[in-house]
Symmetry: D3
Subunit: 139 residues, 6 copies
């Protein structure tokens, strides 16, 4: 078992607020990120996949497989977008770093076979990041 970690970047806007809450409550819960017009980030995604080393090729995964998957399932839908408005997933769900990481995990988890998705790390600013490794059941 060896772990392969690939890094990707996308830029997106979001608002952290629940529409049914008052702006004061949203401000209390989300701080300045509750600004109604929104703000944005350069997100960095680190996708870690574990699998067996093919003794012939010396690789865990076919060339470009993760790149293609992340490009079509993650970057195309999220890069250059306003998450709360352009991405169906985040119309109802608040696009916190935690929820974005979980969404990327859910999107990729069943696609990396026969390898196994080990974790998704989402770096939101140079000071904040989250890491999600799925539910025990999935593993």
């Amino acid at each position: 078992m060896i772990r392969v970690i690939q890094r990707y970047d996308f830029s997106a806007a979001h608002v952290l607020a629940r529409p049914e809450w008052t702006s004061e409550r949203n401000r209390n819960v989300y701080g300045k990120c509750a600004n109604p017009a929104g703000h944005g980030h350069n997100y960095r995604v680190e996708v870690a996949v574990e699998g067996d080393l093919d003794p012939k090729t010396g690789r865990v995964l076919p060339e470009g497989m993760i790149d293609a998957l992340v490009e079509s399932r993650v970057l195309r839908p999220l890069d250059g977008k306003f998450l709360n408005r352009d991405v169906p997933e985040f119309v109802q769900v608040v696009p916190t770093a935690e929820n974005i990481a979980r969404h990327i995990w859910d999107t990729l988890a069943r696609e990396v076979t026969p390898a196994r998705l080990a974790s998704v790390r989402l770096v939101e600013t140079r000071n904040n990041s989250v890491e999600y490794a799925g539910d025990e059941e999935l593993v």
Copy 2:
């Protein structure tokens, strides 16, 4: 003469588009950054100031002067904001990296006396940045 460079970060959303243009024309001029709902970045600002070294203190600038100036004039108005909507300057002017850098320069240029603002660098993504050093006349 010695140059002091201080680095700051803010997160903001923007749309690159001129309202009077068709969305096709905006897409041609600004690429995916023309997405009407907007997207965002973690911006990094590097403010470079030149001045004489005070032989007593060994400093070019009073302690915390640039920090206070950038905090009140740049970060508070821009951090956590949607530039085209929340910032008067960018309601009419398209908030490209170039225009944001020039705006920060204009905001700070007359305030750093007796030192001299040498340049403002705005890093928009890990691959793109702009640097503005004012007009010849200002220098």
Copy 3:
């Protein structure tokens, strides 16, 4: 369970030496870090916390909770200090990266409830870091 990692920075001086040892023995054990007058570092601290995602807020922790805790318990006592002289903990205990990481862990471990402190990483130079995750019992 999701992991949130937040990064902080502080600058401090230290000496690596045991007062009861000869300077030759200290030099053997700690290399150039045993210089009696001391030297210093920009330390980076990465605090990782694990907890359940609040389904309403999409957050693991209340806004600003870790920031406030680290600010008052870690940065204020350590930033801008000479660890062996200014910090009671390190008058007797040699402030190696290992001991600093453990001290930060001990300081924070009981405070992040109901979440769980997952690890403390202390980056001392661009080439050296340590990571501490507590004793089994604590977990």
Copy 4:
């Protein structure tokens, strides 16, 4: 138990191709990395070691032990080299990031006693890295 992570860098060339395969097959398996003349990278190696903290010294490992080991066993044989030609290990084994990480693990695993090698991370480009933690048996 505390983990110490040390970072090292080396620069090397490699070709990803199996000599017995056609160049078309190698191109399919390895993409542009199959270029027969070779290409190269600045590799970054992060060696993580776990052990008990010596209560006297506050250290997990003797001063400079990992540095000396990595210098003689990893950097001297690999730095500035064409892996497929200059390094016996990689004359038969394709020097993918996975195989290089495993080779560094195998080289170091029995040498860091009484501590334990926890993982070897090899960063090949700013977007790709692998991490190897040995076989269960070894642990």
Copy 5:
């Protein structure tokens, strides 16, 4: 006048040696980089271009112009290659960082009109880089 800086990456192998010199002389002049089989780097290229800000678009350059130019003229010929063997320019000229930077400058200098190429910086390792800004005459 505003300066736009764009960053690109490529990975290549090279040998620093003049074929007509003895290996001892090459070793004296180029150190370990003279290893006859070659070694390699992840090169980072920072292309800086200066021009007037288009008051309508707020941009110095048409969208994607530098990207397309660097992709076709710099990255495609150099990325994944052994410079001394695969790139005609470097069959005779030793591919030092200095010569690679100058080659990239020469390749781009006449193509960025009506803007002006301001400098090419080539970062070879995390400790070494060169910057070339052309001959006076060219400017």
Copy 6:
């Protein structure tokens, strides 16, 4: 003319305070850096040298020349030291980033012939740096 930039790192402690001033005045002038016991940093030094390209070697400087110079004149005297106590230059002169950069410039300026020292950049924290390029006369 081409510019070569080399990066070095050292770790040191310092106090920013003038002994003849009250601690209140020092605190006003230097902020928390006036802490009497001292604090420290990982300093990064970027030495930029300009010179003519040797058409035979493709290099501006003899292999290892800047490394040897910086090692003996800058790193050995400053790395692992308490600047105000261990370094004669800084017993009287307050070791601000500005003064350290100027000291490194003065130390190196006459030694890099026939090339020319172009600038010394000293990065003190991830947010603060200074750059010194000498007096006009020296150039």
